[in-house]
Symmetry: C2
DNA sequence: GAGTGGTCTAGACCACGTA
DNA sequence: ACGTGGTCTAGACCACTCC
């Protein structure tokens, strides 16, 4: 049983993505939408607020809510999605190869963050190579805490880690902190991604947490710089 | 006259940043906060929702709201802030030099986006070089639409463009779309940023819009790759 | 059972833009 | 004057956690 707000959200989303409401158009007013969906105005406002944050609409005081973007135009690269999920949405010819999977301790470079709580914690280490059109473009390394998720089957690792966490382990991913930097390619980067010695890679390091705020994994993602693209939508904080 | 929600937001924010509520702690319950601040629970919930989106707290059903981050720990690189504002927050020794300022038409490379509406639109072109500790690290180029902001004084350009827009022109910045890529350094990049011919730069291209959804400027920002760092917080969409 | 957050409501008052 | 979004309220019912 879906609750009302998510259903309305999904409905408006699909109407925006399918040009029922086109960019530049105004949505029906909040009162009108409340009537149409048979809910209170506050419920409509909750949904419109989410669409505003996502960058799909802009509210104009005294005028209405204008459509300013769609999901399909610029795929949500800044959202928290797994590689498998993004690929699926983008309709790309992708492939994943599991290079390594073994028990390990968290390496203590721990991504310069002060996550000292996790030093030497037992993890399942995964190293996967991502292909786009038969060409290797990303090296993904995951360090999954055994205290939260005791094991990761090799078969699942080749598909989607997130899917495994959420469906098979009943663990709900909630949020992640990530950092993007550019670094010179290591010998291993050069070999796996077919790079030259002077090339650089885009490195994304992050921590992923669950709805109960427990950390489930650390990860490092190394991208061919020429294939890297990050799209962001940001709203200004009003002070 | 500040309204209630923003005041409570600011208060909780400062208490989190000043360790009154430390990471791992639970905030007072929603009912408790409603009593403390003398407002309704929905007002409290609005504020807590904002803090959740910002990555400062995580709500645990049946338990409470746990602090999971602060602003000072990882400064908000993914927020929509001007260079001047970020520098100020981060307490960096920075400097800006205006290299060029002239009337122009929007170049038609228009950032591959389909903003065909703006072809050949008259703009004020600005090129600024940003220094960090006496070293040049960023080349900023702005194309400010004359139809929205007729002119940009040279003096203001050396300070903060956003400050000029908002305080002197009474234009309210609302949101921006940006794209991050990595490209090989041009001759000009090499000269201005002291790079070698094989080096790369991180390029951020974007469009900035106002609260009334009008575009005010396009921009391109070219960063020394070794100085570039982008921090992001993302929440998982619940489907 | 008591307390927590999640959802939704019906209504109020305001500031803003259009006409 | 009217309709729009912005803000806030007081209260209801639910699902969840903890004791």
């Amino acid at each position: 049983m879906q609750s009302k707000a998510p259903m309305i959200h999904a409905d408006l989303l699909s109407k925006i993505n399918n040009d029922v409401y086109q960019i530049g158009d105004f949505l029906p007013s909040e009162n009108r939408l409340a009537q149409l969906y048979g809910v209170s105005r506050e419920t409509i406002r909750k949904v419109l607020n989410e669409l505003t944050i996502s960058g799909l609409i802009q509210k104009l005081k005294g005028k209405g809510s204008m459509v300013i973007g769609t999901q399909r135009s610029d795929l949500p690269a800044s959202k928290l999605m797994s590689y498998a999920e993004i690929s699926q949405k983008a309709d790309l010819a992708v492939q994943t190869r599991l290079l390594e999977r073994r028990d390990a301790a968290l390496p203590d470079f721990v991504f310069d963050s002060l996550n000292t709580d996790f030093r030497q914690a037992p993890v399942t280490y995964l190293c996967r190579l991502r292909y786009l059109d038969e060409r290797p473009v990303i090296i993904d390394r995951n360090y999954v805490l055994k205290s939260v998720c005791p094991d990761v089957p090799a078969g699942e690792a080749e598909k989607s880690l997130f899917h495994y966490f959420e469906h098979d382990c009943h663990l709900q991913i909630a949020y992640a902190k990530r950092q993007i930097t550019v670094e010179t390619a290591t010998k291993e980067d050069q070999q796996l991604l077919n790079l030259h010695s002077q090339d650089v890679v885009v490195v994304i390091r992050g921590v992923t947490s669950l709805t109960d705020a427990r950390v489930i994994e650390f990860n490092e993602s190394r991208h061919r710089a020429d294939q890297f693209r990050f799209v962001d939508f940001a709203r200004r904080e009003r002070n």
